[in-house]
């Protein structure tokens, strides 16, 4: 079937992409001053100890050898051991990846469930008071810095009202404890992409409502509500679905600040800490994870897009 060939074509592209991402990352890592050996040894340790530690971590090998081992090991599926924790990188990453995915998914769900209806209503009641109110709200939504929202949420919900805990993860979201812990960070993440989704749904809905086939639908005598839901909504949601996918990828990469502030054990924070600690295998593993998730999401978005819009062929 054409779809399978299309998916294969996209997946084939992942191999060179991983290779390129690896190389770029390796270049960056060699340029960064300082190394982990200095951190592990106490500041008072003499240079010989640091040399010995570098020896053990394999940092003394010539750059080319390190690079080749570094790149080929990914394709062998062995991401190596973290310098600090001495645990295999894959073990650490799996848990953290799931936490981040969980946080971003809940955030995204809140944004979508709230965003799409708001956008549709704003489009239907165009230029009414409601529409103007939504538009200004959206403008503020995309202008406010994320860390400000987070600090304020911690201050208000965490401290003064004390409704929800502000740190750590309380377990999977189907337990009440897990839910209590995820609500605040998810709400903050939702706030930035909620504005984007509302604005996009509104503009794509306005486009669709000005199309000819909406006029045809009305000329058949259908109720306005039916025209909106059956005819307009489906067409309007196609571009929205694409952007939600892209937004998810974008958000997934940028949860560092949220995870640091809410002490959420996600992969964003792991990357940030491992860069600070110069833990090369962990950095490489985390960035690869994020890049892979990004690619898979883009592929999913395209497939959903093709599935929804019958006009486009898989070429």
């Amino acid at each position: 079937m054409r779809m399978k060939k299309y998916i294969l074509k996209r997946l084939l592209w992942i191999v060179p992409l991983i290779f390129l991402v690896q190389t770029l990352l390796f270049l960056l890592l060699t340029v960064i001053p300082g190394d982990i050996a200095v951190l592990i040894a106490t500041p008072n340790a003499p240079p010989e100890t640091i040399e010995a530690l570098r020896e053990e971590l394999g940092l003394e090998r010539p750059l080319i050898v390190q690079y080749i081992d570094y790149v080929t090991s990914v394709f062998r599926g062995d991401l190596g051991k973290s310098f600090i924790f001495r645990l295999p990188v894959s073990e650490i990453l799996v848990g953290r990846l799931i936490n981040s995915l969980e946080l971003v998914t809940v955030g995204m769900m809140i944004a979508v469930v709230a965003g799409i209806p708001l956008g549709v209503i704003a489009a239907i009641k165009r230029d009414s008071l409601y529409d103007r109110f939504i538009c200004t709200g959206v403008l503020f939504g995309i202008s406010v810095p994320l860390f400000f929202i987070e600090l304020m949420t911690i201050l208000i919900f965490g401290l003064y009202l004390g409704w929800f805990p502000v740190s750590q993860r309380g377990g999977p979201i189907w337990t009440v404890e897990g839910l209590r812990h995820i609500i605040l960070p998810a709400l903050c993440l939702a706030s930035i992409c909620l504005a984007m989704i509302v604005r996009l749904t509104r503009s794509s809905m306005l486009d669709v409502l000005s199309e000819d086939y909406i006029l045809t639908a009305r000329s058949k005598g259908l109720k306005e509500r039916v025209v909106i839901v059956t005819h307009a909504l489906k067409n309007a949601l196609i571009p929205v679905v694409t952007v939600i996918g892209l937004q998810y990828g974008f958000l997934f990469g940028n949860t560092v600040v949220t995870e640091v502030i809410f002490d959420w054990p996600g992969i964003g924070r792991l990357t940030y800490e491992s860069i600070i600690m110069r833990d090369f295998p962990l950095i490489r593993g985390a960035v690869l994870c994020i890049a892979l998730v990004f690619i898979v999401i883009n592929l999913l978005v395209d497939l959903i897009y093709l599935r929804l819009d019958p006009r486009i062929e898989y070429d």
Partner: protein, 326 residues
Amino acid sequence: MDEKPLLEVKNLSVNFYIRHGVVNAVTDASFKIRKNEILGLVGESGCGKSVTALSILRLLLEPPAKIMGGRILYKGEDLLEKTEKEIREIRGKEISMIFQNPLSSLNPVLTIGFQVSEPIILHQNLKNDEEVKRRTVEILRQMGIPEAEKRLKEYPHAFSGGMRQRTMIAMALSCNPSLLIADEPTTSLDVTIQLQILKLMRNLRRDVGSSILLITHDFGVAAQLCDTIAVMYAGETVEYGSAVDVLKDPKHPYTKCLLRSIPRIDVDIERLEPIKGSVPNAMNLPDGCRFHPRCPYMIEDTCEKIKPEARQLTEGRLVRCHLYGR
């Protein structure tokens, strides 16, 4: 001959309020269609013929558009007074409409079967899905779409221009309306396919018995299909009469000049006589007779100042021009 007309539009006027100012799209449109008759509403683009058609079914979006005055009598009742719910009853059941561009008039993401069956489900409350499907296939086959049964599941983009227009007509006629409004149905089609559609519409009157309001800018199409013709210019109906009278013996200067300025296939024309100037802008229409700046027969200081009334020359023959007496 003069029992009550099926639809009569009297002095309709419609304005559009947009950011840059007020557009008076239709200032004084009046014509009537008798049962089982085809009326051609002919005029250049921007003369308000589409707006008139849309205002009959009240499909104009209220915020920018506003119907200033006039009456639209359908079977004696004025459509402008009807409530939203009543108008919805009429749309698709009594009066239905087809549009110019078949490419964008069908919803690209819904199947053909679903879109055609929508009015049937709504207006003919048949018992079960099976009956609706049978009726849909029947109407599609009637409109000349081959293997209609198989095509229900397909999407509009798989159809050619002609097939899509046939689907539109099937959709419009699925509830046997007594009036079909066709807004430039064949403009975007090739000549040969245009002929097929015209032939199909001519047979409608015989098979379904519905009268048709055809809106077009092509005199040839109007001549081949319509019984009576109304010519519109800058938002007004300037001439009304039977097809033969209007085309053979046009009275209004605009109709005369227009007929002389179009190339003909059946007559060898040495030199076309174009009408000077261009279509007036609906934001600031010239006062007096709208056509006076471009009219070769303009009478000094009457045509510019006084707005001509629509006078009745003979039975069923109207013209809006000072040349024909006070």
